[in-house]
């Protein structure tokens, strides 16, 4: 976190005709997030890191992106990024996703940080719905955009009752819903955003990252920050924290897999692949490709060089 604040106040007293301008402190850098907001965000982030998995309320500011479009992730990134930072922004794993492009330019234009598509060069990675395939290291921070921070939303609507459930670690209704799911469907059908127990205490929503990515949060060397701007909550998983998907002892946690699927561009099987359906019902040109575009591209480059 390398942003600095400089404020100077002119204490000379005007004698004639007080003008409104004289009441105003000289503006700090023009940006989209003022210094008070940044301070508040950093405090909320620190609180979140101290209580892993706890949803810290914060005064979410209106951002130039709509609520639900990454305003929370954007605020976290703006609060922690400075001139020395290198920022990667992805959406569904793709640096070129139009919303990722918009967010990235907002960050670099207003903070002076540089941008990259390579994980190895980044210090901060803001992401929607994926963790990059490359392993992140201790000096890197992952900022995740969260649409719905409340993992218990499916079993309880009342806000006060939700607060009580988290406060008392009373997750019994979540367990009942997992039981019912397994009984009704034969498998646990939760797809993305799988609920996880963090540090043995709080259950979190892992945002809609696929199950493929969930095991990579467990005892990760990097810091993960989760920002929900619309819902005004921040939570965190500090490095080396236990993150366990909620499941029964005899019901293994399942990641997405389609036997035989491989990326048609780089031939990978051990990555999260997305499907391109056949061009029509009769065609057999259906295929799979990596969702992490930068990772896939690098593999292709490395393969062509060898």
């Amino acid at each position: 976190m390398s942003a600095t604040v400089s404020e100077t106040i002119d204490w000379s007293i005007p004698t004639e005709g007080t003008r409104l301008d004289a009441l105003v402190e000289p503006a700090v850098e023009a940006g989209i997030l003022d210094e008070h907001a940044k301070r508040e965000l950093r405090r909320a982030i620190l609180t979140a890191v101290c209580v892993p998995g706890y949803q810290v309320p914060f005064g979410s500011r209106e951002m130039p992106v709509a609520r639900g479009w990454g305003s929370g992730g954007l605020q976290i990134t703006l609060a922690i990024v400075g001139l020395d930072d290198v920022v990667k922004v992805i959406d569904q794993g793709d640096d070129e996703g139009v919303n990722a492009v918009n967010l990235r330019r907002l960050v670099t234009d207003t903070t002076g940080a540089t941008e990259t598509t390579e994980v190895s060069e980044a210090t901060v990675i803001q992401t929607r719905h994926r963790i990059p395939e490359d392993a992140l290291e201790a000096h890197q921070t992952l900022v995740l955009q969260v649409p719905v921070p409340e993992p218990l939303r499916g079993v309880e609507r009342n806000i006060a009752e939700l607060g009580r459930m988290h406060a008392e670690a009373d997750y019994s209704r979540m367990w009942v819903s997992l039981y019912e799911d397994k009984v009704r469907n034969g498998v646990i059908t939760k797809s993305t955003g799988y609920p996880c127990l963090v540090g043995g205490r709080y259950v979190i929503a892992t945002t809609p990252i696929p199950r493929w990515d969930v095991p990579r949060l467990h005892r990760a060397p990097f810091l993960s920050l989760f920002g929900a701007g619309r819902e005004r909550k921040i939570y965190a998983i500090p490095p080396d924290t236990d993150v366990e998907p909620l499941t029964f002892d005899d019901v293994p946690f399942e990641i997405e897999k389609t036997p035989g699927a491989r990326c048609s561009l780089c031939d990978a099987t051990e990555a999260y692949l997305i499907e391109i359906p056949p061009s029509d019902a009769a065609a057999d040109d259906g295929r799979w490709i990596c969702s992490d575009t930068a990772w896939c591209r690098r593999r292709r480059v490395e393969a062509s060089q060898s």
């Binding site: 007293i13 009441l23 105003v24 402190e25 700090v28 997030l33 003022d34 309320p57 005064g59 209106e62 951002m63 709509a66 609520r67 479009w69 959406d91 569904q92 794993g93 793709d94 070129e96 996703g97 139009v98 990722a100 492009v101 918009n102 719905h129 719905v148 409340e150 993992p151 939303r153 499916g154 079993v155 009342n158 806000i159 006060a160 009752e161 607060g163 009580r164 019912e180 009984v183 009704r184 034969g186 498998v187 059908t189 797809s191 993305t192 955003g193 929503a205 809609p208 990252i209 696929p210 619309r230 005004r232 909550k233 399942e254 997405e256 389609t258 692949l273 997305i274 499907e275 575009t293």
Partner: protein, 408 residues
Amino acid sequence: MGYAAARGGLDAISAAEALVRDARDLANSPWLELDQLIDRQRLAVDRVMGEGGLWDPRLAARALQQSEGDTIEASHLLRSYRATMPRFAYSHPVDMDDARVLRRIVPAFRNPPGPQLLGRTTDYTGRLLDRTDDALARERAEKRSIDWAPAEQAVTTSNPTDAGTVASTGPTKAHLGDRRHRRLLDVLRDMDLMVDRRRTDDPEPADITRAATRPPAPRSAVLATMARAETGALVNLWYRNILGPDGYIHEVTLGEVRHAEIPVTVTHPHTGGPVDIGGVRVTEVEAIEDLDGADEDRTRFDAGYGLCFGHNEKKAIAMANLDIACHRDGGGVGGASDLEQSILMTTDGLDASGFLEHLKLPHYVTFRSMIDRKMAMRSARTAEHPVFDTTTATDAPVPVDPREGDCA
């Protein structure tokens, strides 16, 4: 080619932005002036200031111009602009009786203290589309404009015993008899007909722009949320509670409906004295609620309050009714009502529309994962231990969905 897989995402976005900008700015018709919006689309400008939470008619007009008339988009522009501005003072509390009243009606009494001032309103005008040829209408307006003095006049009062209110320079506090006319609530208090909920402590009002507000919340937080709420959201929340399957509020009787200008004063940081920095225009409503509950004082009334920027009566009236309904219904878990939760969490225009429209963002990672689960379910069904089929139960309601919790 997929929408997210478009290479050169920045080029695509820039092209989209150019399309919007050029189609709006380079159209054949004359440039849309901010003054035109302020003078002739004042209610849209007022609404945007109210939902943006920022008083500045020119900025609001600019936002409306930029957003091509989308009021929620315009209020977003105002709010994100506001978020960048330093905050250098808080105003002194405003005594609403210091207002310069432009319009004031009291439905609860025929002859309240002070006038019934219809003011600038179309409430009593027939909703007939004026089919006059546009060029002719313009010609006539131009002829009349030479004689017209632009101020908030054309005052008529429905109370003929009130002296000197016709053809004057405007209804000011001074004009209305040089004294403050008592509000209806004051009259009812004198008749000992009002429950007294006035506080003797002076709690800090909640600042919803600086701290997240969740139920149970103080009344100031609920009022502040409603003051910035989207107009339609409040109107329909009110209507749904009157007529919908699970609502429980009933209609109030209105005590005061006012459209007024109020002065705004701050403390000078050096001299310590009050400084008048201008004024804003608001709509203010006091609503009277008939108490009929078993645990209530049924020999008295209670009151609800509504206040918002600009001239927006439907919003302020909905606000006042929801305010008192929230108070009466404080019986949920933790003392907060479902209504309070609905107000605090579902009435903000930016939150609601932003979240709704985010569905347009790519969701293919999530969707692939859902397909995977469907395949897994099918394998499970054909495996050794088939699942009991519970679909034969009649009238079985949809059970709790364990998949809820991520976005759609």
